[in-house]
């Protein structure tokens, strides 16, 4: 899913779908909703004023994936490349994570998807030398998030509560 329009939009809010990402250079609020076992990864280079948000569904991509944004490993690379194209420097980028819950018994044993999404994302970020500043992962509730590109705030709504990391 892609959104059209963009920087000139008065509200400066960009919606990110499932297996999708967005990058902003003008401090927009990047949002994604309905993260269950899926994971939201917010990346930001404060000095360059470039930020990105991706909503990944699965941990590891197969060979030649039709959509790189669906997977944690190829997805992180894709956002980072898009951010670099907008002037971000990978060695200044920092990350925040939210999502990766295990909502059902059938998804709680035998390597839950949410847990693996978080693990593969951490490994991928670690390999790229990107520190994780904060995270709100696991549990058994869904999350909707807003990543404020200007401040780096990640606001999370989950099970009727709101929090900020």
């Amino acid at each position: 899913m892609k959104t059209y329009g963009g920087a000139s939009s008065s509200r400066a809010r960009k919606r990110v779908g499932i297996a999708d990402f967005a990058v902003t250079t003008d401090g927009a609020v990047l949002t994604t909703s309905g993260l269950g076992s899926c994971l939201g990864i917010g990346l930001r280079d404060e000095r360059a004023g470039v930020a990105g948000l991706i909503h990944v569904m699965l941990p590891t991509a197969p060979e030649e994936p039709p959509n790189v944004a669906k997977y944690a490993d190829t997805g992180v690379d894709a956002v980072l490349t898009a951010m670099r194209d907008e002037g971000a420097s990978p060695d200044r980028v920092r990350a925040k994570l939210a999502g990766g819950s295990a909502m059902f018994e059938f998804d709680s044993q035998d390597e839950p998807i949410g847990e693996r999404n978080v693990a593969v994302t951490r490994t991928t970020l670690d390999r790229l030398g990107i520190p994780v500043d904060a995270e709100d992962v696991g549990g058994d509730s869904g999350r909707s998030i807003r990543f404020h590109a200007d401040t780096g705030d990640l606001r999370i709504k989950s099970a009727g509560t709101e929090r900020r990391i």
Binding site: T3, Y4, I18, G34, M57, F104, G142
Partner: protein, 408 residues
């Protein structure tokens, strides 16, 4: 005819890309930022088509296709969305809430329809390396199924029709637009048909049996709700669609639901989610629990919904078992109270480990007075669905009809 799952996937992707071009055109002309919500291809019977389109007033255009891709298309806005677009596009045209759309408004809609559908069709023409001819747009302002190109419903009566559907939504405004494409059956069947020994091919006649299974499962589930609540129910929509796995969660609305989810552990494997939006859940609880409960629903209310989910699940499974003539194993239904997209995301995730696309069977149980509605999502594992269909004798579809008649 056998249907090749991979090629169905390719055409679904073409429709998605086409819809993105159309959404970009809409954004370019109106400045309203839009995105493509869901694209799916659905196999519909006449009854399905009537269920899906019934009761809504649409404004839009119809365009016929010929050349390398023959069929019919419609671009439809609900009336309010069309009025908003006319306001932006042709200021001064009359398209208010109570007004008739005047000539300026109509030509504005026709123009944007023509441009959007041009974008939609280009991708297909490129892929098929052919040219596709479009008839001039015909402006339509109609109720329900009448918005569909002429003859589509009649064809659905004789055989199932494939319907490509894309929904576009504006980011900040209440605007919804839909693109429908109904390829001419014979030609499309030829495009889809695979060789007999193709691994991924599914026999077309069995796929239609599976469509009937969904309806029967939903009807049994609805009967069980009626007997629990004393409220008359009906199955409004029941259809089998084919969507990219990452679009599965988006088929539920972005709001909080209560319900149950369980996993089929035998053949066919997969998942079943039975979901009530919160007001509907409240109605169900009030109808089944003989005391006043607090707002919002607490443990007592949730356990009433759990009970309802169990009973509907067993009805749904009876419907499937009846068609497949086999017992169906499953995990106990688990209570869930969360955002619809979050509820469906682990299901998409688990299936997504081994398949790119999903067969999604969604049904809606409604009541005549609108007391509540309930969404039922059955999402089989692709490989196990194929095994189940391979094992299914086609003669059983006749038996299904017989059983259905004996039910009522």
């Amino acid at each position: 005819m056998r249907v090749d799952i991979q090629s169905l996937g390719t055409y679904n992707r073409l429709a998605q890309e086409g819809a993105e071009h159309a959404a970009a055109s809409l954004t370019g002309m109106t400045g309203i930022e839009t995105y493509v919500d869901v694209t799916n291809v659905t196999l519909m019977s006449k009854r399905d088509v009537e269920d899906v389109f019934g009761g809504t007033q649409f404004v839009g255009v119809q365009i016929g296709l010929g050349g390398g891709l023959s069929g019919e298309t419609a671009l439809a806005f609900d009336r309010d969305s069309a009025a908003s677009i006319v306001d932006v596009l042709v200021p001064g045209a009359s398209a208010g809430d109570d007004d008739e759309f005047d000539d300026m408004a109509r030509s504005g809609i026709s123009e944007i329809g023509n441009i959007m559908m041009g974008g939609f069709v280009d991708g297909w023409a490129d892929y098929l390396s052919t040219s596709v001819d479009m008839t001039p747009p015909t402006y339509v302002e109609r109720d329900g199924t009448d918005v569909l190109p002429g003859g589509a419903l009649d064809r659905a009566e004789e055989e199932h029709v494939f319907v490509f559907e894309s929904q576009m939504t504006a980011v900040d405004a209440e605007i919804d637009a839909y693109i429908y494409m109904l390829p001419e059956y014979g030609a499309f069947a030829e495009m889809l048909s695979a060789s007999e020994d193709h691994d991924d091919a599914i026999p077309m006649d069995k796929l239609t049996v599976f469509d009937e299974m969904t309806r029967q499962g939903a009807e049994r589930a609805a009967e069980n709700v009626s007997s629990m609540t004393g409220i008359e129910t009906d199955v409004d929509v029941s259809r089998l669609s084919f969507v990219p796995i990452e679009d599965v969660p988006n088929t539920a609305r972005d709001e909080v639901y209560l319900g149950t989810v369980m996993e089929f552990t035998g053949t066919p494997g997969g998942y079943l989610a039975i979901l009530f939006d919160e007001p509907s859940a409240r109605t169900i609880v009030d109808a089944t629990v003989p005391m006043e409960l607090d707002e919002p629903l607490g443990d007592m209310g949730e356990s009433a919904i759990q009970e309802m989910g169990n009973i509907m699940t067993s009805g749904f499974i009876d419907g499937w078992a009846n068609v497949l003539q086999t017992s169906i194993d499953h995990t106990p239904p688990e209570l869930v109270h969360d955002l619809g997209t979050a509820i469906l995301s682990p299901i998409a995730g688990r299936l997504g480990q081994s398949q790119e696309y999903a067969f999604l069977m969604d049904s809606t149980v409604v009541t005549p007075e609108g007391e509540f509605n309930c969404e039922i999502y059955a999402i089989p594992d692709e490989q196990k669905l194929k095994e189940a269909l391979d094992a299914l004798l086609v003669e059983r579809s006749d038996q299904l009809e017989a059983n259905r008649e004996s039910l009522f």
